[in-house]
């Protein structure tokens, strides 16, 4: 039949039936595939155009096909049309019918041919099936799809995007006000992502905070990628929003717990160090003393040494008391915070150390006008004031009477307390890292213990505050507490 092998192969791959048209007399040879595609065998049909027009072709298509067919036969006018043909089961199947020249592939043949290429309806059925799965997936995973069309200057949302953003089904998203779909602190992030995707084609996959129609902020995973046209120009961005609010909130709360645990752990570690170091110095002395007692033969001397044990025992007690104070801070921090007036706390402290203040001729100037009350654990505020005031008096300048200025104020959402003295100051170059350490003293004072600032720092930090210090030798020192 067909001479050209290559052509034959192409047809095979084409999976299409065809007619070969012969002249003198005019007749058509229907190919095997033509029968196959309709489910007939060769002897069931009469391979003639009249028979075809009468029995097989759908009525709607008869007229057009007859015209086309005969124009082609007589005048070699190529044609292309859709055509419905009755199969053996009694259903009409849709075919694309075309002549050699109208085919999308370049088929060279000396014989005139008419092809019948079946248009499969299955893909369409698949789409509806896929559509079902897509909807299910979207709903079950709370994942909405969207498309931003740069040519039309419009954005499109699917039903699920509207649902998770709490907009009505007929809501038309605005491209101009698209920033409003994001939480205020996420707008820059969103703008960066979309800009980069639109300009350079950088896809994104990120977590971002959005705002619903009801002004509820929630977390979504936003995934987007550029859409290109044939000229490789970016014509839009396609992507999804997945509602991950619950997961993200859990993650954030988990992260917060981890942070708290980490900070507690580091404090514990610090504390263990302090305990180990401070107790060791006493036990070392005890051990050395015992060795000495054992080593000495003179009973009188031995008894003399036993008295030293008393001293060690006293020191040990003091250390343990200090450690207890530190432990107390961390157990007390769950005490209830309540509004405390700075003035009240100060009065309490000032009357407690009234003698110290008057003996040292200390002048204290307070200014609580800007911020007179703070929500805090009252005992801590008193302890902080007490430590900073006694510190300023203890380390006063030898040539002048102490002047202490205490001021409370607020900046932004934070409350501050500033305590400035005119004392001898601390050499910040040498002691910057050590000021708040335990048992660190920087002066030759006999009553320097090195516990006050350590406790103050611990108290402030146990309530998530901060304490900083500025100082200049011979000028004075300023402590600033951020509550």
């Amino acid at each position: 039949m067909l001479q050209n092998e290559l052509f034959n192969n192409v047809i095979q791959d084409f999976n299409a039936g065809y007619w070969e048209l012969y002249d003198g007399p005019e007749r058509e040879v229907w190919s095997e595939k033509f029968y196959d595609s309709l489910g007939y065998t060769k002897n069931e049909l009469e391979p003639k155009i009249d028979y075809f027009l009468e029995h097989l072709i759908h009525q709607e298509d008869v007229e057009l096909f007859r015209d086309n067919f005969f124009s082609y036969r007589r005048n070699a006018i190529n044609f292309k049309q859709h055509i419905k043909i009755l199969d053996k089961k009694g259903n009409y199947k849709l075919f694309r019918c075309a002549t050699n020249d109208e085919l999308p592939v370049n088929i060279k043949s000396k014989i005139s041919l008419v092809f019948f290429i079946e248009i499969k309806l299955e893909p369409e059925q698949d789409i509806t099936k896929d559509n079902f799965y897509y909807k299910e997936t979207a709903q079950m995973t709370a994942t909405g799809s969207w498309y931003v069309d740069f040519q039309e200057r419009k954005s499109f949302w699917d039903f699920e995007t509207r649902r998770i953003l709490e907009y009505a089904d007929d809501y038309i998203p605005s491209l101009k006000d698209s920033a409003n779909y994001y939480a205020e602190d996420s707008r820059q992030q969103a703008a960066d992502l979309f800009f980069n995707c639109a300009m350079v084609g950088t896809p994104f996959n990120t977590e971002i905070k959005m705002v619903t129609a009801n002004k509820r902020e929630f977390w979504v995973r936003a995934i987007g990628k550029p859409v290109y046209n044939e000229n490789k120009e970016i014509i839009g961005i396609r992507g999804v929003f997945q509602d991950i609010d619950e997961i993200k909130k859990k993650e954030l709360s988990l992260q917060k717990s981890i942070d708290i645990i980490a900070s507690q752990n580091s404090r514990l570690f610090n504390f263990a160090h302090i305990v180990s170091h401070n107790l060791r110095s006493h036990t070392s002395n005890l051990s050395l003393l015992v060795q000495l007692i054992e080593d000495i033969d003179d009973p009188k001397e031995k008894i003399g040494l036993v008295k030293e044990i008393k001293q060690i025992s006293y020191s040990l007690n003091t250390t343990i008391e200090h450690l207890n104070e530190i432990v107390a801070i961390h157990t007390n921090k769950d005490q209830e915070k309540k509004p405390v007036k700075f003035q009240d706390a100060f009065n309490l402290v000032a009357s407690g150390i009234g003698q110290m203040i008057s003996m040292s001729k200390t002048k204290i100037k307070t200014d609580f006008k800007e911020l007179n009350t703070i929500n805090y654990i009252p005992a801590y505020l008193e302890s902080i004031l007490l430590n900073l005031i006694t510190n300023a008096i203890k380390y006063k300048h030898e040539n002048r009477d102490p002047v202490i200025k205490i001021k409370s104020y607020s900046k932004g959402s934070k409350a501050y307390l500033k305590v400035t003295d005119n004392g001898r100051g601390i050499d910040m170059k040498l002691f910057k890292d050590k000021i708040f350490g335990m048992y660190k003293t920087f002066h030759y004072n006999k009553d320097a213990v090195g516990i006050g600032l350590f406790l103050t720092k611990n108290q402030v930090e146990s309530l998530d505050g901060k304490i900083t210090v500025e100082s200049e030798v011979d000028k004075g020192t300023t402590f600033i507490i951020e509550f």
Binding site: R280, S284, N285, S287, L288, L430, K440
Partner: protein
Amino acid sequence: MSHKIGLACIIDDDNMYVNLVKRIVEAKNLCNNLMVFQNGKDALNYFEAILTNLNKKTIPEIIFLDLNMPVMDGWEFLDNFTKIKNKLGKTITLYIVSSSINPVDIERAKSINTVKDYLIKPVTIEDLEAIFLKKTL
């Protein structure tokens, strides 16, 4: 050929410890004189003063240095002391004696040339004897 140590030096702010070592040194007759500084600053001042008026009898042969001290701690003293020790014209053996068992401290101390050894408190009478004795060999 042995000679008894003439002058030893303790730099430590723990009075109890200093007293006990003093007693041991006296009881065991380990050296003739013991000088004590409460912190690194006092000790450094002393050594810097010696530089202007060198007298070998006032330079200790052994230093026992604590690490945690007020005003100037052992590390800072070491930094400054290392700079001037060669000008003193006498070999000085320096031991760190600290209650710190922090491996970071121990490593750091051993990396400093000036430091002969790191002793962890409590020291024993035997330790002290061995150190003073080694010096006399």
